[in-house]
Symmetry: C3
Subunit: 341 residues, 3 copies
């Protein structure tokens, strides 16, 4: 477990939790919780949560001292217990998320530059930032207040990192990248490598030098080993609050609207424009030069081949079957394809 | 924007562009362009290009001073304009690509070894190469003239990098890798990690040590966080002019023919042989021990399960549908599979 | 070729190979082999192997001095040859795998800490370990006997690496990761980055701090640029003997049973539990919160959408077709979906 915060030492009472999350206490309001745990292994000093009917099923057996329960999934009298307080809230998952930050300090650090960091004399690094050993910061780059630059991070020339950014070990931000406030970039992510741009000429490929940059908004999170390419002539733009999982590929000139979430192993081809508040399932592929509206959900391993103009859910992934049954489906599909319409 | 070149300072006149690209000027041949921009935001000092009917539609509103137009898509008299010169060329995209190199210098550097680089005494580094801080070069490796080795690049033992190579920060070339001339490797790419080779023995896996290497031809480009494994007994070979996008996985013993292009998130399994001048769409998967002919195009997210002997286009990806409609298709497919042929 | 071992200098006679692998010699038992090569290019001093009928077809033309042959695929008298000895064994592939280790030393190194390594004073590093330049080891971490920590490897705080581990250049093990004995981690792999956990709150995402760690068993191998996320509250657990290829994504709280093998580009979503002795084909996607039994084989590019309770083979990938034929199949499928059942 990561280091606990000052809040964790004093913990939160059920009444305090109700105050924080506009909730209502069932049981002893003075009972205190000091840590977080899932229902099945929480102890008397832990806070846990119950979102669904499934969680309610194991609630009785839980040792948790305090449980955040989604309002409306159970009547208050069913929750009476001598050894547990409940707090009814409208969104226990969000409450739980906020408690993970309040009770644990995952990204605590001491300001300063470690020996073994390579900082160009023309770079500007705020005094409250931390630059770890082996990190490189190029000419003209600016590192804002409270930024953490992990071991071996590469920051090219003319890069700007806004306040509160946290760049984990070994990620790379290439020349010209601009990053907003409170952005988290995980190890191995590469921001601003060249887009895949070539012109065919007599059977060979002529490189189109990629002249744009990557612009990342505030409170964006980018997963381990994901790649976001610089634009060709225009820029690649990631909106505020976008969350990107691991091993995601975002090609040149793509624009992603605010608060969209992209699961692992997704690939988005060049110049696609994704709306706001979208959710893109793992392994999905999105072709280039198309537009996706706001509030679109794409299921896992779907191939998006043309623009999507309306909010809603879209899919083309095929659930597994026993291989023998699947082979029969394939054979039928092939026969179908051979028939005249 | 990256630094402009000496050419950019004097720019190119329409007549000079016609000379470079075997083109024909419509309008003032003396008008000069100094930079590149897309039609919709180009200004009087910019060069832009029109490849398609769609581009022609926005040509009239463009502020571009010079536009390279594909010969034959429009009659010359429609192009007369007092504020713009046009140059008709057969391949404006390739012309534009060459101008990106002529007008901008993306990979300019000063020769020398930075403090903080770790170079084995038995490695040979050409005096015209640049070795950045935190790079490691192992025993017996050779770095050719004009090579750039970025910060934190790892070069193992007995690696050879040909003239003009550009190795971006944090890529890795493992023992024995041989790289041709003018190869570009983007951040995080790993060349020569062990192939995935194990022998089953009584329910456990026995590692097959991977004894081959990776051999990369001239003018190859390899995208960020892509991986090309060393061969098991034979070598993995990437032909001249091959272009590989980000997050591509190329397994042991694969051979890829010259001038083939591979888009992001593709996986190619062991011992596959891909022909020359192929184009492999994003997210495609190619099984092992098969052969693909020259001039084959594979569409995005296609699964290639057996050899392809003839040039042409191949596919198996399914375009998205609204989830409800897709579920109906799936149900029908399942019913089909249950019917007797 | 990597450095040969002491065994390679004296080689193995056919009789010695028969002793090692419980085999039976056909031909001269005193003939010695000193290296390994595939049948088609093996010479008189090489050992090769024949697993299948296909291999037998090229056996007569092979120059190999010794060939390990799967017992039962050919009668002994067909193998008589004046220039070659044969050793009949039950599992020549496993025998061959063991010989790759006996004859070549891929991971030989000298103990000690190179200049330019950054080791926290509160870390404990065994004297027999090797720590290369640019590696970082955080407070409270323990590096066991015989461990190799490559150039630029990042090891966070409170990480434990068991005896004999081999961490290739540039991989990252984040805070709290625990790694068993003889684990191999390839370049760029990231162990213990944050899981992708967010709670929706009024159209925005609230980060769920990821408080678990990654626990890796003995003799696990993890491919280049793969990512294994830390658990949210629980841990992510990789069982003994698991083999993971390149560019694989394993999300938070996943558990993978012993001796399961996972091919390249696979994505496994959060809290999935994979059984023992499974084989997961390249590019497959496995949704979250489901269970897969032991001894399950998933074919390439299959989407696993619900739990699999029974051992066996499962699939949903579609083999490629010529694009025109595939478009007809798609049109038929779409028509089917529109019909009433």
């Amino acid at each position: 477990m990561p280091p606990c915060s000052a809040s964790a030492e004093r913990g939160f009472s059920a009444a305090e939790l109700a105050g924080l999350f506009a909730g209502e206490v069932v049981g002893d309001p003075a009972r205190r919780g000091y840590g977080l745990a899932p229902l099945y292994r929480a102890g008397a000093r832990d806070i846990s949560f119950a979102l669904t009917e499934r969680h309610l099923g194991i609630l009785d057996d839980s040792g948790a001292g305090i449980v955040l329960v989604r309002r409306g999934i159970v009547s208050g009298d069913r929750l009476e217990s001598p050894r547990r307080s409940h707090v009814l809230v409208s969104n226990p998952h969000a409450a739980f998320a906020r408690l993970t930050s309040l009770l644990y300090e995952r990204r605590r650090f001491v300001a300063g530059v470690e020996p073994g960091a390579h900082i160009h004399p023309d770079a500007r690094v705020d005094a409250s930032a931390r630059i770890c050993a082996g990190a490189t910061i190029g000419a003209g780059s600016q590192i804002g207040p409270g930024v953490y630059v992990g071991a071996g991070v590469f920051i090219g020339e003319a890069v700007a990192i806004g306040p509160g950014g946290y760049l984990y070990a070994g990620c790379a931000l290439m020349d010209g990248a601009r990053v907003g406030c409170a952005v988290i970039i995980h190890p191995g992510a590469v921001i601003g490598a060249d887009g895949f741009g070539f012109a065919a000429d007599d059977g060979k490929w002529v490189k189109v030098e990629q002249l744009g940059v990557v612009i990342i908004g505030d409170e964006v999170e980018i997963g381990a080993n994901s790649t976001i390419d610089r634009g060709a002539l225009d820029d690649t733009v990631i909106g505020d609050g976008v969350k990107i999982d691991n091993l995601v590929h975002i090609a040149h000139n793509v624009r992603i609207g605010e608060h969209t979430a992209i699961a692992g192993c997704v690939g988005i081809a060049g110049s696609a424009r994704i709306g706001k508040h979208c959710a893109i399932g793992g392994g999905a592929g999105i072709l280039g030069h198309l537009e996706i509206a706001d509030h679109v959900t794409i299921h896992a391993m779907t191939l998006v081949t043309r623009s999507i103009r309306e909010a809603g859910e879209y899919a083309s992934g095929i659930p597994h079957q026993p291989a023998r049954a699947w082979n029969q489906s394939l054979a039928s599909l092939r026969r179908l394809g051979r028939k005249r319409p």
